[in-house]
Symmetry: C5
Subunit: 90 residues, 5 copies
Amino acid sequence: MQIARVVGTVVATQKHRAFEGAKLLLVQPLTLDDKPRGTALLAVDTLGAGVHEKVLVVMEGRAAGEALGRRLAPVDAAVVGIIDTVDVVA
Amino acid sequence: MQIARVVGTVVATQKHRAFEGAKLLLVQPLTLDDKPRGTALLAVDTLGAGVHEKVLVVMEGRAAGEALGRRLAPVDAAVVGIIDTVDVVA
Amino acid sequence: MQIARVVGTVVATQKHRAFEGAKLLLVQPLTLDDKPRGTALLAVDTLGAGVHEKVLVVMEGRAAGEALGRRLAPVDAAVVGIIDTVDVVA
Amino acid sequence: MQIARVVGTVVATQKHRAFEGAKLLLVQPLTLDDKPRGTALLAVDTLGAGVHEKVLVVMEGRAAGEALGRRLAPVDAAVVGIIDTVDVVA
Amino acid sequence: MQIARVVGTVVATQKHRAFEGAKLLLVQPLTLDDKPRGTALLAVDTLGAGVHEKVLVVMEGRAAGEALGRRLAPVDAAVVGIIDTVDVVA
C-alpha cells in the first residue's frame, strides 16, 4: 500500500455501471517526508476521505474491487485507510 | 485508474477470438496539467469513447476483463469512464 | 496492451510443464514512432506470429493464461494480436 | 519477492474492516548491498517482524491476501519472511 | 517473462508456511546482451535451477503460485524455465 494525499476529485458522467455511486478521488503518492512522488492517480473512495487527508491507497485490481465491496468492479486502486500517524524509525 | 486522452486506434485483423468486435483505443496517459506522461498504450473501449476525449483508464487484467464484460478475455487495460471535469485542489 | 515487435525466440528445454508445446517469442515494446522502448521481454505466442511482425502484447498473468487457453499456466505475457495498422490522430 | 527493511509503522484508525487487527509496517526496499532503493511502502505483517529487521516482501494483491490468511482482503503487499542471510555469488 | 541469471540464495528461517521446502533464488534480470538490468529479486525455484544459470522468470502472483503448484501461496515471482539459447534477429 502507498501513502498518498487526496488532492482532488473527478467527474465522469458516462462510466461503467460498476462506478455508479462510487466516489473517485485524485490521490497524489507521497514520499516519507510528504513530498509528491510520481503522478497523481484515481482511486475509489470507500471511507469518505476528504480532500487534503493523508490516506492509505491499495493499488491492484483484485484488492481494489474487494475494498469497494464489488468483486467484479473494474477498478485498480482504492482508498482503504485514513492515516493518523506515520512513525519512521531513525 | 489513470487519466488519459484517446489519441488513435489500432487495427489487428488476426487476433485472439475474445477481441472480436471489441474496439482498441490508443490512449496517452496525462499529467494533471494535461501533458503526455509516458508511452501511449492500448485499451479496450467499453463506452464508445472517441478520439480526443479525456478518459478514465483501468490498467489491470482482471478489472479490464470485467469492464469488457468478458471475465476470461486476455486484456490488461480498458476505458471505463469519459471524464467531464478534473478538480485539483490548490 | 502494448505495441511490440517480435525480435527473436528463446529455447528452454527444461521448463514448467505448462509451457510444453508453447512458443516463446522475444518481443521488444515500441514507441508510437516505432523506436524500441525499454527492454525486450518474453511472451507466449498464441497466433503464430513471426519474427519482425508488429504485435499486440498483453502483460498480466491472468490475461496471458487466458490467451494461452490454459488458465493455470504460469505466464505473465502473451501475443494476442498481429497489428495491421496504428492510426495516431494529430 | 523483494528484500526490504522494516523502517516504521503506520496508524490508521479509520480503515477498511479487513485491516482490523492487522499490523501495517513501513518497509524500505533494499539493493543487494543494503542501500535504500525507491520509496518505502506499506505491507501487512504476518510474522511479527520488528523494526530494523530485514524481511521478504511479496508485492501483489492475491499473494498478499493469502499471506494475511484473508483471501478477500484489499491488500497489495505483505511481509512473508524474516531474512537470516542473503548469499550473493561473485 | 523475463530473462535473468541466478546470482544467489536467501535463507529465511521464519517465513509463511507456504514457503516451507521451497527454494528462494536471487535472480538478476538481464538485458539482451547479458548486462544486469534493474535490481535483483527473489523468485521461488520450481526446476532445481543452479547459481549462474540463465533462467526464465515469471513475475506475477497468480502465475508464480501456479508454478509452485500451490495456488494459494503468497509468491509473486517464480523460475519457470532454464534457458538454453536466446536468438535475437538482427
